[in-house]
Symmetry: D2
């Protein structure tokens, strides 16, 4: 399951609002609905037209902010961020939005994604005397904006955006302007909405529902939106290239109630499950999901196959960051922490276990063995994505040392390693059809790099070293 | 939904272990799996054979305990508790287990349930000079145990248990004995298990799975278990009366992976859903659940009716105790906090909304209106229990001022109040058959008081005043 | 220095106010000025005429209370407490005031002192079925009050006070009455004041200055004050016995700006220093104090001897409860935490080091050696009290295992052990004259038990065991 | 008293150690002894020879660090900082040391002082594309170091130091070097010491005593110390100019046990008091100090005048950052928080009140009135420094809006405003002689700018604007 990678990726969530008297609170509720995209840190910066100020901290939205803090955050514009820690780059300094003051004005930035040429740019800027205080890609853009000349902020931003490459969705706030930008491949999701007279932007549409806003449209690849007192103005900073939205957003990241490209994620997952049932064609007694991402898929699988869907695995909702891990001895005695099999459901049954993906395989092996210990006669693992064979450089960094189990192994070899009675990966074609992006032309509009190795952007030495070290 | 009542009830979870070198840690993991039964406070008391000591606090298990605290809790026996706050009785003092020292020995108690004659006993004891420091029923039992004579602890406990009436599951720990007791009607669930050479007891069997223990059997109504270095010894403190297990444990409280009376809760709920589909016979496009308790039921409903099950409502998992409630103005603009409708699923559809119960009706009305605002054409509310017409005195206290919507209203009147297109309550017979306790004889073994008004115990003035004020 | 004993004693501070609209806040400021009497925990209980409520916690007054908590504490009467932890009896449960609810009314109590027959009474009450939840003497009085019959609260309190023996200053609050009581020997200080129309009572008069109240008079030994809407009413619960105020209150405990028996503590200490200078007659270059209690004394010593007073030892004000103790290795390298010698002041000088007392001697030895390491040629230790040869049972419990260095040693032996060039204890006569309580008659009005072994009350087995184990 | 200014100044403390296996702990204890120089935030950065890492936070040293955090801070070199919040520049970002990573190495800086050309440099650097993330002067130096070319770190630092002007004491740590630098006027104190084989540097010598280190010498004005595995190397980055140590370090800032220029601060203050007694020649009954800075001075005054020194004012040690300020109403009723007069000492007496300085005069007025309310017949205010007539630009920023009471008023006018019976300021000559820096030549080695308006450095527009707005 892709959750194995969490802790390694930089998947985050961003939110922005312009023109609402309760900008900070709206952002609070918006970020709260994006909490599944990052739980390590969060921040909000507001503008009252004269200055930028804000608050940030490590932890959940509901932990970092309280009534007192929020009530002091005035202003009708705000941007916010929820963040996942990267391997080495945790800590308060890296919590976004980043806020930069200069004698000519201030600027706050929040970023979802990963640049592939960040280190290259950093080297050049450092040689020119720049100092970086965070390990965040976001700071790279800030330096580029500052160093570019141009009378208007939007022109400096535009020049800067042309210099960076990779996956990025940005919201940038100055005293009197909100700028929203998406990378030329549209690798990360980013949508625009309307809340009364105010504009909102968010990583996922579920944030619009959370604040009572209406969806207008997705931000387009290579698009730059400038929102200020004159209204909303759109232009493109890049000649549009082929769209390549991260497919894992459908498979795993996004909330079921969000829509990507006009397709509801829950529905897409049900379709993945239906297609998977067709492709797998396994005879069994119950279908069960690895919660939470596998649930919609499993429901679809059950519907198409006629095999009943059951809660064969229960997830404990109260596992927090401070939970005490069981010792090895206790673990061997059977102490469980996060997932429990439901003996009354799986005992004596042939079980189909639906998951989103297999990365390292260790979690899959643990769950299969848990189900068998609870009495499952057979465990058939069905996966709603093709094998992940290649690293991602766009925000889901696989570390160098942790092998992708599918990188150099056949499905049969993986099956044996995880101890399943059968293992089925969804085909690439099946996946694309299920999410409504059939591969009829050369370009399906989705990034498939982790399955196929075909990357939609240039790669740079600091990206490539991951690849060749494997 | 019954969750409306939370904050008003005293539903809790208890856990005990005897004879395991990691008694405190085992209790920690056990309580963690019972966290759904109470999130306001928790505590663990251990015995090392010479003295009792422990730690408790307000908050979640993972918040109250840390490695350092747990590592200092020695001893091979422990009891623990997770607690729901009552209306007026929150605060550190009321967090259990309660620990009482005297010059002749110590005693710790943890309790799940509610006594109906607690105030009566308190009055008598106070007239005799006793002082109560908590508002908890648990302290009443402690005083009775201390005042009863008898050479053996178990005899004093037995005498004390005969004096109290109501719903109660107790675990009591002294320096050298663990005592487990259940009320004569077995109103609260309580099970016995084995973990290697150690004994464990817990409110639900999911705690056994969490710690790798094996289920032995349910504790019987009116039974007293004494566990000490001589082993396990059982006797009855009450001539067994008719069993009357709280039916809401199946409908709402228990975790889907627990078993009550040998019946898996998830399976029971699916059966409730199937029966409900038969009884309701509604034509619609999608079945959706009010999460979490409605999920299993909705799956069963979908299976039986052939109408597809969809995620029409999403629950935000990150709503914590410190979350900032939206103001009325923001709420009216559509800011949501806990439940979001999935527009992509319900828009233009006739929706069947499955919930466990209706108490005050306000939540149901809000969800119906949310679904309609998200584009649902019709909303048919189906409820997996009969109308709740009578207050509960056994741990789910309905407050005096909050009317039960069904107390004096017809189903049609309720339907109109919640704005649904149709409303179906499951019949009592249907419910009992679905959970495998058919009402063939006078006694089905379940408490049905909140539906029928027939209470399985005596009632006392302080219970009855609730009733007559309504 | 007596501070060595801290952590072992039960010296505390109490405050009460009746008839002020800001009762909780007044108590907050009063307790804050008594913070030197106890830093481990604090609490305030208020009465609004109908019910008692409050807040307490572990830590300093400024840590436990905040604006929000205080602003919710309504009522025109309040009692409060600051507490020192006892060896084994720390923890939230023992933080005072203790609050007891019964069906006929509530009662809160706060206590400064130590009962000598508490365990005896506890045994008897436990045999009669009482349960004690704290290890505090305060709970003993609560039980006695409850068990005594009598129509009026004051009569029940009076009967209860007659049953206890030892050192005690109590403030007791009910819904409509404030009761203030002092033990028959007046072992602990307790004063009465007036703040506009309101009455206040406090352990030390500095609390009156802190809240702008006027001192009326000290509460008398064996006196009971009842304050309610009818005004202030005084009676005696004990036939007055010989007054025996703890002499250490002058020497060490009380704040320099308080007055005891009409004598300002700073002035008393200066007089102690002057007398000590006369008795010691040492030739030296500088006089320095062990801060803080030795400061006034050293000033007096310098004035009388003509030897200049210097800051030879500096106390770090920022040593808090959470400070990290230096390891043994670092300590040996000279890492200091709390007291630093001032090399520029003591180097090459003959130093007179003024301290309040010597208990175990370890601290004195450390300071002498610190001064010598900083270059002092000679260190003459002068102590403003006689040798402490006997344990105290009235609130300054010396533990069994920690020997009093003076119990069985001559002054010369002690001098050698602490490494001083000379050692002078003040004579008992000198001490009494200096504090204005000359020993002209048999009874000077002061308790001298720790110097002479003559205890002003009966002793009981649980007190005496300390003595005989030494 | 100068403490009025606190909250407005940037007075801080720095500490560094090179070559000690417990570098982080040594720094912890060193900073703890410098806590009086700043209580708002603190941090420590260590180097293990390969990388820099650390921890910082808002609050006291003992609050920000705990055993767990410290035990993870490996490395044999460390720098640390305690900080005072500036008016607008509080917050986590501004807590020092600042840590800067680049692809060619890392660098940490901590700073005590204030630059007078910081804003000028910032403007220039921003025009060249630099981004500043803090409002701290320290970041200015970091940018200059990075932008200067030079093969060796020390050469880049040297060039950078030549560009800045004002008061500065810096400690700079890289992976393999510790650099210590003092401004050309030596405006801030900075000393060098030895701890076994390790070197230490600190703002005050009291930190050497705290960690068991030996004082070697003061760092010289314009000196740059480089400490690395080759040993200690000294050079000057500035042609030495006239020394001008801040005189307020003697009067107010430094701890009594520190030595500045070989003069013990307590002794210097006593001498100030003796000289003040001579100059004032007032007849009175008692001498009392405004604690803490006035204590040594008052002792000297008493010694020289023969008038007894008494504790006429008591400071509450437990006033923390979270203390609840009394409302205006309570303040008028006499509620006191920080300072209490000792009625028993001042009643009916003619009191000499010794303080270090008068800035705005409001505090002096409050104390005089407090003493009179406590019964003082006369209050004679004597001040151990001349009138402060000019703003300071070197770390003790007087804000624009808060007038210096002495700027345009005679001593008599001030006396009337503060309600004293007499007011004496020490003469400049008297002050310099007392601290052993007699004004025999043009240059006494002390900065007297706040008294005379003669500033030892150039001033720049952003400094001067303070001046002309007054």
């Amino acid at each position: 399951m892709l959750a194995e990678l969490r802790g390694l990726n930089e998947e985050c969530g961003i939110f922005a609002v312009w023109g609402h008297e309760d900008a900070a609170k709206i952002t609070y509720y918006g970020l709260h609905s994006l909490q599944h995209r990052g739980q390590e840190g969060t921040g909000i910066i507001t503008s009252d037209g004269h200055e930028l100020s804000g608050h940030k901290g490590e932890g959940l939205v509901a932990e970092v902010f309280n009534e007192q803090v929020l009530s002091k955050m005035n202003g009708s514009a705000a941007i916010g961020h929820v963040r996942y820690a990267t391997a080495g780059g945790g800590g308060y300094e890296n919590v976004q939005p980043l806020l930069f003051h200069s004698q000519t004005g201030s600027m706050a930035l929040a970023h979802n994604g990963n640049l592939v040429n960040a280190n290259l740019i950093k080297s050049i800027l450092e040689q020119q005397g720049s100092i970086f205080q965070t390990s965040s890609d976001t700071e790279v853009l800030a330096h580029l904006i500052r160093r570019n000349s141009g009378w208007l902020m939007k022109d400096r931003v535009k020049s800067a955006l042309k210099q960076i490459e990779g996956a990025f969705a940005y919201v940038i706030l100055t005293e009197n302007e909100l700028i929203v930008a998406l990378d030329p491949q549209g690798l990360r999701p980013l949508s625009l909405g309307r809340l009364g007279d105010a504009y909102v932007a968010a990583s996922e549409t579920c944030a619009f529902d959370a604040v009572g806003a209406e969806f207008i449209r997705d931000v387009l690849p290579g698009e730059l939106l400038i929102i200020n007192e004159d209204g909303l103005y759109s232009e493109f900073f890049a000649e549009s290239r082929d769209e390549a939205l991260c497919t894992m957003e459908y498979i795993y990241f996004s909330r079921p109630d969000s829509s990507l490209n006009g397709i509801n994620v829950h529905t897409a997952r049900k379709n993945l499950g239906k297609r998977l049932a067709m492709e797998a064609g396994i005879d069994a007694d119950v279908v069960t999901a690895v919660p939470d991402s596998g649930v919609s898929t499993a429901i679809g699988y059950a519907e198409a196959s006629g095999i009943p869907y059951e809660l064969g695995l229960i997830k404990n909702r109260y596992v927090g960051r401070t939970f005490i891990q069981p010792s090895q001895a206790l673990r061997e005695q059977g102490v469980k922490m996060k997932l429990s099999p439901v003996r009354g459901v799986v005992e004596g049954k042939r079980v189909i276990m639906v998951d989103d993906s297999i990365v390292r395989g260790t979690t899959s092996r643990r769950i299969v063995s848990m189900l068998k210990a609870a009495g499952a006669l057979e465990v058939h693992v069905v996966i709603s994505s093709p094998p992940i064979k290649h690293p991602c450089f766009y925000g889901i960094d696989t570390s160098k040392k942790e092998e992708l189990i599918a990188h150099s192994r056949s499905t049969e070899e993986i099956r044996r390693l995880i101890g399943a009675d059968s293992l089925t990966f969804l085909s690439t074609e099946g996946m694309l059809e299920a999410i409504g992006r059939p591969n009829t032309s050369k370009n399906c509009g989705q990034c498939l790099a982790c399955f196929t190795g075909e990357y939609p952007t240039e790669l740079y030495p600091d990206s490539l070293q991951y690849y060749y070290q494997k």
